[in-house]
């Protein structure tokens, strides 16, 4: 029983990070119809920004959140405005290929700068944890979860309440109508892509607290972002949060699974991704537009 509780807590803690990982990806996909394959590379850049700030200037990772958001937002804005916008109205696969190329480019530049050595961000609270009953909770992961919840909350409020947020939602509904109403679509798209990159940077900062850093660290998170945002529903902030938590919990429980079929022994830890993906397929069969998704005409 105590294992069950521990798994649940681990799942929720991991799910918070996954929610932030998927949030930017989901916004870019849902609003601009761009599958950003460079999202994993952006996460990696965010983690390295935090690493450099921590080791060189001794800024705490949580304090570096706004810096990595700002830097990555700027990078994302420029990439959308001056690269992707060239083919903005091309079919989705064109931008898919473009961001694939960008991802290769960014990861390999990172390889030249930082080499493939694994690095880590070790703060004074890195190893610290507390126990509630039989459940152990690492402080760093708890802070991460709180930060993740705060970020998703702020994003949701901003999208609903602010003028820019309204322009973004209008553009997502109908580009032509938004243009007629005076929305500068190229600028809005650049902001959305910047937001996606900024949120990836933030996710990278949070990830650097619990995972080792190397230039290809973003790849597994890219795939998880895919799954989480579909699980929750594309382009929706709440969807990313619920999808992230659901994925984290499923994955944590899958680790505990042990199967014996005949003489064949299968341990859950090797299959956790497979199990999570099977769950995804079942969700898609039952709710083809994700848990939070709404049917369209």
């Amino acid at each position: 029983m105590h294992l069950l509780a521990q798994d649940l807590v681990n799942g929720i803690l991991a799910g918070g990070i996954l929610a932030v990982v998927a949030l930017g990806f989901s916004l870019v996909w849902g609003i601009m119809n761009i599958i950003n394959l460079a999202h994993g590379a952006f996460i990696m850049l965010g983690a390295y920004i935090t690493y450099e700030l921590f080791t060189v200037v001794h800024i705490d990772p949580f304090a570096s959140l706004p810096i990595s958001f700002g830097l990555m937002f700027g990078l994302g804005y420029l990439i959308q405005r001056y690269l992707i916008n060239w083919v903005a109205r091309a079919p989705i696969l064109t931008t898919f290929l473009l961001t694939f190329g960008l991802s290769l480019l960014v990861v390999n530049i990172a390889l030249i700068i930082w080499t493939s050595d694994a690095r880590g961000v070790t703060t004074w609270y890195s190893g610290a944890n507390f126990t509630v009953g039989t459940v152990t909770v690492p402080w760093a992961k708890l802070f991460t979860l709180i930060a993740a919840l705060a970020i998703t909350g702020v994003m949701q409020l901003w999208l609903v309440r602010s003028k820019t947020g309204r322009a973004i939602r209008a553009t997502a509904m109908d580009v032509g109508a938004a243009q007629l109403s005076g929305v500068r679509v190229a600028h809005i798209f650049a902001i959305v892509f910047g937001l996606g990159a900024g949120l990836a940077g933030v996710a990278g900062t949070l990830i650097s607290l619990s995972y080792a850093l190397n230039p290809s660290m973003g790849d597994p998170f890219l795939i998880k972002a895919f799954v989480v945002c579909v699980l929750g529903g594309l382009g929706s902030v709440q969807g990313a949060l619920i999808g992230g938590l659901a994925y984290g919990i499923i994955e944590a429980f899958a680790t505990q699974l042990d199967l014996t079929i005949g003489t064949q022994h299968i341990s859950g830890s090797g299959l956790q991704d497979a199990i999570a993906l099977v769950v995804l397929l079942i969700v898609l069969m039952v709710r083809p537009r994700g848990i939070m998704g709404r049917a369209t005409a």
């Binding site: 290929l97 341990s267 993906l277 069969m285």
Partner: protein
């Protein structure tokens, strides 16, 4: 005859339409004929390079049928390649070392898997289909890595012919690629091809016209699966060893998609042209820029997409020069 006149003559002969530029198709056939000569160089390295190009071409054609013609973008076609490769490895483990048997079993096993998975999954539309196929690909790879019967993560050795007859793998791959090219051409010119395109353009309208969408979608996926499965079935003995990280590699998943888009999606010539350019460039870059080859590879893709967003085949039909080219760019004005 000038190039333009040749193109016009080909079009009068009934070539073109949804097969894409007829001139490009002829270029592909000529290139394929030239590729027959590669083993005469007696150079093992060259054999490998060009066999890889043909392998990627076959996989790209497999993806083009579902992703290009039918408009259902699959991120899991590498699964079929893997199933083909593992079928060949299992046959070899049971003492059957016959390339023809490998290809037939690999292609049929892949097609069977495509049908079984396709019937539920092809009901999903757009992005959701893409994610489901991505999930299937990763799940199958994970499951294979955990099955001792298939060698787990340490993989399986596959029996090879002796060096003197090694070019048999090259010619087998050539035949599979040729089959994929001609198969795509014939499908694109048949009722089947028009049904695929009708589904891509508007599935509801196609249904109104009496096209049973699910059946055609599953057919497109299964035929594409056969192309990838056959390529995998030859890859396994040619490579001599397979494991999940080779047969379900991300590269093997993304490359065929990238090649098809780069060459020209939904055309008969596109996947081949894309495969030659991407696989060829990758090989050259790896040779001359040991450290930074992936960086240049990425930069090359970015530049080509920005300059030719509709794929290289589009160049064959280009008239009006720069002005038409500028129209192909679709930027939003600030």
């Amino acid at each position: 005859m000038t190039v333009a006149a040749t193109a016009a003559a080909l079009r009068r002969a009934g070539l073109g339409g949804i097969t894409g530029s007829p001139l490009a198709f002829v270029v592909v056939l000529v290139a394929m004929a030239l590729l027959l000569a590669v083993p005469f160089a007696h150079n093992g390295y060259l054999n490998n390079v060009f066999r890889n190009i043909l392998m990627y071409a076959a996989m790209a054609y497999g993806w083009n049928l579902i992703g290009g013609y039918t408009g259902y973008v699959s991120f899991g076609n590498v699964t079929f390649f893997g199933i083909g490769a593992y079928s060949a490895a299992l046959l070899s483990a049971h003492g059957i070392d016959n390339l023809a048997a490998d290809v037939v079993v690999g292609a049929l096993a892949s097609a069977a898997f495509a049908v079984v998975i396709g019937i539920p999954v092809l009901r999903l539309k757009g992005h959701y289909f893409g994610i489901a196929t991505l999930g299937i690909g990763l799940a199958v790879s994970d499951i294979v890595a955990n099955l001792d019967a298939l060698g787990g993560t340490s993989g399986l050795a596959v029996h090879q012919v002796d060096d003197a007859h090694f070019s048999v793998y090259y010619y087998a791959m050539w035949l599979v690629a040729l089959g994929a090219i001609l198969g795509t051409y014939l499908i694109a010119r048949s009722k089947l091809g028009y049904a695929f395109v009708a589904i891509r353009e508007n599935e509801d309208a196609a249904a109104v016209l009496g096209i049973w969408a699910t059946r055609y979608k599953v057919t497109a996926w299964a035929i594409g699966a056969m192309m990838a499965g056959a390529a995998g079935a030859i890859f396994a003995p040619a490579n001599g060893f397979i494991d999940p990280s080779i047969t379900f590699a991300t590269d093997a998943n993304v490359f065929p998609i990238a090649m098809t888009i780069l060459g020209g999606i939904g055309t008969v010539a596109g996947p081949f042209i894309g495969a030659v350019i991407l696989a060829g460039a990758n090989e050259l870059l790896q040779r001359y820029f040991v450290k930074a080859h992936t960086l240049f590879f990425g930069a090359m893709i970015v530049v080509i997409v920005l300059v030719l967003p509709r794929g290289l085949v589009w160049l064959f039909g280009l008239r009006g020069g720069l002005r038409t080219w500028a129209k192909s760019l679709t930027a939003f004005k600030a």
